[in-house]
Amino acid sequence: MAELIIPAIVSCIVAFFTVYVATPPLIKFLQKRNLAVKDMNKKDHVMVVRPGGPSIIAGIITSELVLYGFFQINEILAIIITSFIAFVIGYVDDRKVMGGWFKPVALVIASTPIIFFGTYDSNLTFPLFGTVQIPALYLGLIIFMIPITGNTINSIDVLNGVASGFMIIASFSLSIALFILQNYEIAIISLPLGFVSLAFYKYHKIPSKIFPGDSGALTLGAMYGAIAIVGHVEIIAAIALLPAIINSFLFLSSMKRIVEHRQIKGKPVEHTEDFKLKATNNRLVRLILTGGPLSEKQVGYEILKLAIFSGTLAIITAFMMRVLI
């Protein structure tokens, strides 16, 4: 355990400072290129640059390569390549609005490194009840998991700071769960995700200076999914992600089809006179607003509170994994 402390500290520092240092020049670069979109929830005409994906993927790759220098295991390579493919898919979508099916289908390719490197265990472990062997089904699960986690994080990226803030909570919950399950190597491999999100949150929190874009959100989501698979903590990972999963399910059930959110017609958000959020086509936000209009900051905090709640349930689940009835 002691020999893992130095790689953990070094990789976390590299992850945090790569994003922390790389994002301001990226913001300037994007401003020069005029790659900005209107922030829909601001009273004034505020333009915010996007995508922040390049600094996020830089943080992930450098920190994971540092870890690869310490332990040469295929799990790290699988995570790096999966995250990078997701970044490329997201970047294509950032530059050119693709159809609703593009991201889910293309993200299947991002799941192939996990299969290629054989960095998975086809036993699915449940709390209290033990494991179930599903060799054929598990391959299907891997193919679905990366598109689901990628798109789920992408779909919760609706307000300033929410995607990165949510990812900080979910990924640290997953890391704690991995430590509880004594899967120390994967726990350390998962830490950079939280630190990358934390550094990006500094620029993404309200009022945002940069949006992650599809490239940033898909990278974070795909890396999260890859960690869940290589760490054999799929169920715990799903529990920590529950608020975002609710959002995706409600969105899909209301649209009745897979659709790119930028292609939805009509006003995405309705505001009160004092510019509080009144109604929105985002389903989780809509449920939060059943009690009445709230400011963007208040809604963001409510989503993060839900993330903390589901993160706590995920950690409790990790303890329950060690108990069999």
Partner: protein, 76 residues
């Protein structure tokens, strides 16, 4: 928001735990024999179908629950 969404999350968690129990105790040991080389394939297909049905039931229960919780919240 009160406790509506937190309650909803909690019920989702309980349903995941219960679903896990069903998968491990019923679906796990389940196998088909008598079809030679196709045994594994048929078993996998049947397990996949049952798993998909479970997920659909899970979504239906949650959908009803969501409507119930939020109707109650709007009324109060």
């Amino acid at each position: 928001m009160k406790i509506g969404l937190f309650g909803f999350l909690f019920v989702m968690w309980i349903l995941i735990l219960a679903g896990g129990g069903i998968l491990v105790t019923i679906l796990g040991p389940f196998s088909i024999s008598g079809y030679g080389d196709f045994d594994l394939l048929l078993t996998s297909i049947l397990k996949a179908i049952i798993a998909i049905i479970l997920v659909i039931v899970w979504i239906l229960i949650l959908s009803k629950l969501k409507n119930w919780i939020f109707k109650k919240e709007i009324q109060s």
